[in-house]
Symmetry: D2
Subunit: 278 residues, 4 copies
């Protein structure tokens, strides 16, 4: 018997959805702690996230909701629990470090089960936190061979999300497909500006007055996945591209942590390559 659950529902919109769902809550004698709905007008799709409290069995609540909604909805009743995440990194410490500090602090609703790096310079930092760091070098092997090694390593763990905390290698479609909807990336630009390599150099060359960062789910199209969070900071002519990079790091780490928090709290729906966030 659970005490609290997050109920996520999405389906084609129709009259009476809120009524049907709230009726089920009412009949189960549940308190609605919070409740948010949204209808995507473009294709009449309905989204709902409720947090409910009471004495109930999560599985049976899910079944009842499914039945009430005629089996046409995607219903999830999630009992809050720490999720397992794996971080992938290359050489920069800021995004990784921000997550480690939150983790140690208990602020992160997740267990960091391992960190995988294609270099080993962050190994010492990670191990200080009692987290295994696995170096899988890409030197002298093909992208596919490298990814196979990474996937073999990943297969050893049970995890909910892979967080690319400044992992600077491009993933193959095979890798992305294997962990579909489970990979979160931080891109160091305000997407869709400056897709691809070295966005700060691009930003510097273009002479922009604001730079940003974008956290998104990874799909096959590079830097084209559903955006979860973005933020920006002001720059000016005195910033060369390295200054932009330095300043951008603060935005990157905050945006990634913020996006991860939203995902871990089951607040993010993905639909039509966009996100609905409650």
């Amino acid at each position: 018997m659970a005490n609290r659950a997050r109920v996520l529902i999405d389906c084609n919109d129709q009259k009476g959805l809120v009524y049907r769902v709230s009726k089920v809550f009412y009949e189960h004698d549940l308190n609605i702690i919070s409740n948010r709905e949204f209808v995507d007008k473009e294709d009449q799709h309905f989204f709902m996230r409720s947090v409910v409290a009471g004495d109930f069995d999560a599985k049976s609540l899910e079944n009842t909701l499914n039945k009430e909604l005629g089996g046409r909805a995607d219903v999830k009743v999630i009992t809050p629990a720490k999720k397992n995440i794996i971080l992938m990194v290359t050489k920069e410490s800021h995004a990784l470090g921000d997550l480690l500090i939150r983790y140690i602090d208990g602020e992160l609703e997740a267990n960091i089960v391992a960190v995988i790096g294609n270099r080993d310079n962050l190994k010492s930092l990670v191990e200080r936190f009692g987290i295994p760091f696995i170096t899988i070098s890409a030197d002298g092997i093909s992208r596919e061979e490298h990814e196979d090694l990474v996937m073999q390593e990943l297969a050893k763990y049970s995890f909910d999300y892979i967080v690319l905390a400044k992992y600077m290698r491009i993933l193959t479609p095979k890798f992305v497909a294997t962990y579909e909807g489970k990979i979160i990336n931080i891109h160091h630009s305000f997407l869709p500006a400056f897709i691809g390599a070295n966005p700060y150099k691009q930003a510097y060359n273009r002479g922009v007055k604001i730079i940003g960062a974008t956290a998104h789910f990874v799909t096959n199209d590079l830097d084209e996945g559903p955006i979860i969070a973005q933020d920006v900071i002001s720059v000016n002519h005195r910033f060369d591209w390295k200054d932009m990079q330095r300043a951008g790091r603060d935005v990157e780490k905050i945006v990634l942590s913020r996006a991860l928090k939203l995902v871990l709290e089951d607040r993010v729906f993905v639909h039509n390559n966009k996100t609905v966030i409650f």
Copy 2:
């Protein structure tokens, strides 16, 4: 028979509120266009704003909702229509001008029925827009006498809100009580910093790095009313207080217009001297 209405409900929280309300919507065969709820955990107060569409009589829908909620809720069913507003100004044109341009553009969900100024320097600007401007000078008379004249003028109009668009005089408790919950002010600081006179000079003297503006409902306590909207901009040591004032004007006008839009769209609940905004 209406086609669309905004339904506003607030009451003490209890189990089944969303269920009861959505049941009424369902039984009236209404589409829920949007739906937002919130429970203030501090005193267990429930707020809900729905936009519904269908064939219905607004008054009868309100009655049914009232009955369903046991008469203990504050229920309003509002058919969207332009509200009437009166602006009060002193001498600065930026907030006034911003509203006038939106008004002419049809962007404002309101009719500006009159502008009252305690000086006449904005008369020419206002009259260009075909709006009556009434000058009520405060010279040589007491605050009470001046306000009596203003209230006599206000009595000639039917209006929903008074918008203080940089009206630089302090209102008496009598005035505020007369138009309780109907007066919106823009204060030229990030409240509660710099309450009172010349906030920009105060900000300059304190050496702050950010200045702001606050739109709020007016209550008897000067600058202490429920906050509707706030925004800020960065400043630095090169700004003297007049530069801060100039820069602040852009924030003031945008914040006031944004707050007014929220109020006109019936998105703002006031509770415990705070706002819940959907």
Copy 3:
């Protein structure tokens, strides 16, 4: 004899530039009210903007500075005076209106000598402010024919800048070349994201969480000119593209006015398709 001037200098960097310039100021017994310098490290280019006060002849100061700098610098001594600007518009009133209100208020360091529209729906608004509005319809004629008419009209005026206040037509290279460095545009996106038509629809489709606006000088490459100012606001999944457009208008008008202010105060250097702004 002037009392105050803005001195703008840019040239290849070399040792002693600040020394030479400040020596001239010192020998002319001038007060330096403000002084800002910058060296672009990429190509060792030097920029300086000083505001000086004293009894001096602007032309002779310019000559002395030129001589002192060996004739290799671009030197301008500008006695502050209102510049003349011409606005070009299509149908939206927000950017135009913001400039009109500032103009009437005396806040704009410029005279608006005329407004040219390719439609006439803003004529009435502009004429309320005593400014000539010239409608030059593009209906039934080629882009080149239309621009010829516009250029014939422009030829009647003496002006320093053309401000495209939501002028929604693309300019030909001929037009741009004719008024090189004199055309300021507001683009309704955070460039370089969403170049081209209907950026808000593009932003909506991409599911971004932040939208923005960019004021820039116009060059032949569409939306590729030197950026003067940018700003952004947050959006979310509840915004359809029309909501984004509405919200974006506030950013557009503020960014355009801010950029224009910088240009009118002679604070903007253009170099390598980027701006240095003091």
Copy 4:
């Protein structure tokens, strides 16, 4: 012989200051890498920060500048070097952790020589980074006794700045006077709003829509010292005060790190309880 130095000058304004300083640079055959000046109009005070490069002796350059300026200026020629800092903390890890990660990364232009806590719960985190953590409990002793112990500990180190990274105890005038101009604090509100205890609870009770953080030098007046940096984030009615606190942490840590960077790079002048920052 140095290669690069930061030259800081402040004095009463007078004609020819830039000329005199740049003449010295020129005669020493120095390159000016960057140069910024400011005159506080209120009391005609001049500030200048130059970064110069060349072959020179720092002490002799300082002497020459002092002589050239008639001994009336405060002149510092600083050869960039890592400064020593001591952190003081209580129980929250976010600001401390942010500094530790930057430190390990080499991003901080400082050595963290020690961390002093009035509790020991952050000891394990700090020691992972090879930095001594000294617990000095305040339990059962007076504020003065506790501070004496802290000052005895501080006396063991050579340091340039004390950084209060969420040190939650009030300092006595004696302590502040001992380390005058050397203590940097992060206050968890947008000062001067919400001075004193639990600003987030105050912010929640006031119903603000934006919260912030302020990094400042500590003076005897609690939360009244010269402000170095501030930043804000948006909140809404769904945030209880604990949510505000959580959200505020990201602002606190970024603002503190940003302020510390400015101080470590010798970019901050303090004058009249305000800062001039280049």
